[in-house]
């Protein structure tokens, strides 16, 4: 149950488009519901992201709570005002097994 490395579990982009910055995030996670069975009929344990926090230079942008209904390898887009090129968007997630994921990206002009 180690910390997942930040380089390979979150892909991000934050692009300035006029006054709005568009943040796109793709996370690598199985998002198992706990209702599926493997080929031997054993239940695959629930394994899903529960909380996601996005920050800009350390200030909170968005806080999310997720259930098992978010698709495998979760995808998220959101928009913010007031960011400039070079500002840092950071994503943190935690899952029901206690694992965490971290990713960050600098805002770039479109």
């Amino acid at each position: 149950m180690g910390v997942v490395k930040m380089t390979d579990n979150i892909r991000m982009r934050a692009q300035l488009k006029g006054e709005i910055t568009e943040v796109k995030i793709l996370m690598t996670h199985p998002m198992e519901t706990g209702r599926r069975k493997n080929d031997f009929g054993d239940v695959i344990p629930a394994n899903f992201i529960q909380t996601v926090t996005a920050t800009l230079n350390g200030k909170i942008l968005l806080e999310a709570q997720w259930g098992t209904g978010i698709s495998k390898n979760p995808y998220l887009t959101f928009h913010m005002r007031g960011a400039k090129a070079g500002d840092v968007v950071r994503i943190n997630w935690t899952d029901n097994q206690g694992k965490i994921g971290v990713g960050e990206i600098a805002v770039t002009p479109a």
Binding site: R36, E63, A64, I70
Partner: protein, 147 residues
């Protein structure tokens, strides 16, 4: 008098101890809401009530989803002071999908991909101040996506 002051001080200290963990809990994952099978139970767990239909909310999704495992949904609110967007799928084994809380500079808009067990309405609830507004989109699911 001295003893009474001491007593009051210790009471205050005790109540501070009690309040701190409760504040921390407020950020924690809402277990009863996510375990609720039906909408009314999920609403109760999230303290959602008196929901008004609104045309100022857009819920965009496919009319038909080939594969219920990955259904892209976009929700955008034009309601002033929108604080959060909560997404439900009425016919899923557990109705609550996700809750997004926005800061001042984050627009009340989200695109994400969800699982749908069967054909259902996708419902978005917006919180603005102490009021709740809703809009929905019917999505026909051709292949079950929950397993």
């Amino acid at each position: 008098m001295q003893e009474r002051r001491k007593f009051i001080k210790s009471l205050l200290a005790l109540s501070a101890l009690l309040v701190l963990p409760m504040r921390a809990l407020a950020n924690n994952w809402n277990i009863p809401a996510f375990q609720a099978k039906k909408l009314p139970e999920a609403f109760a767990a999230l303290q959602i009530s008196n929901v008004s239909l609104s045309t100022d909310i857009k819920v965009i999704g496919p009319d038909k989803a080939e594969n219920g495992a990955v259904v892209q949904i976009e929700v955008a609110s034009q309601i002033p002071n929108t604080e959060s967007i909560t997404i439900f799928v009425e016919n899923n084994p557990t109705a609550l999908i996700a809750n997004f809380v926005f800061s001042e500079n984050t627009l009340p808009f989200v695109v994400t991909r969800i699982k749908m067990a069967e054909t259902s309405d996708v419902l978005a609830i917006i919180k603005a101040g102490n009021r709740y507004f809703s809009a929905k989109k019917h999505v026909e699911v051709l292949e079950n996506g929950c397993g």
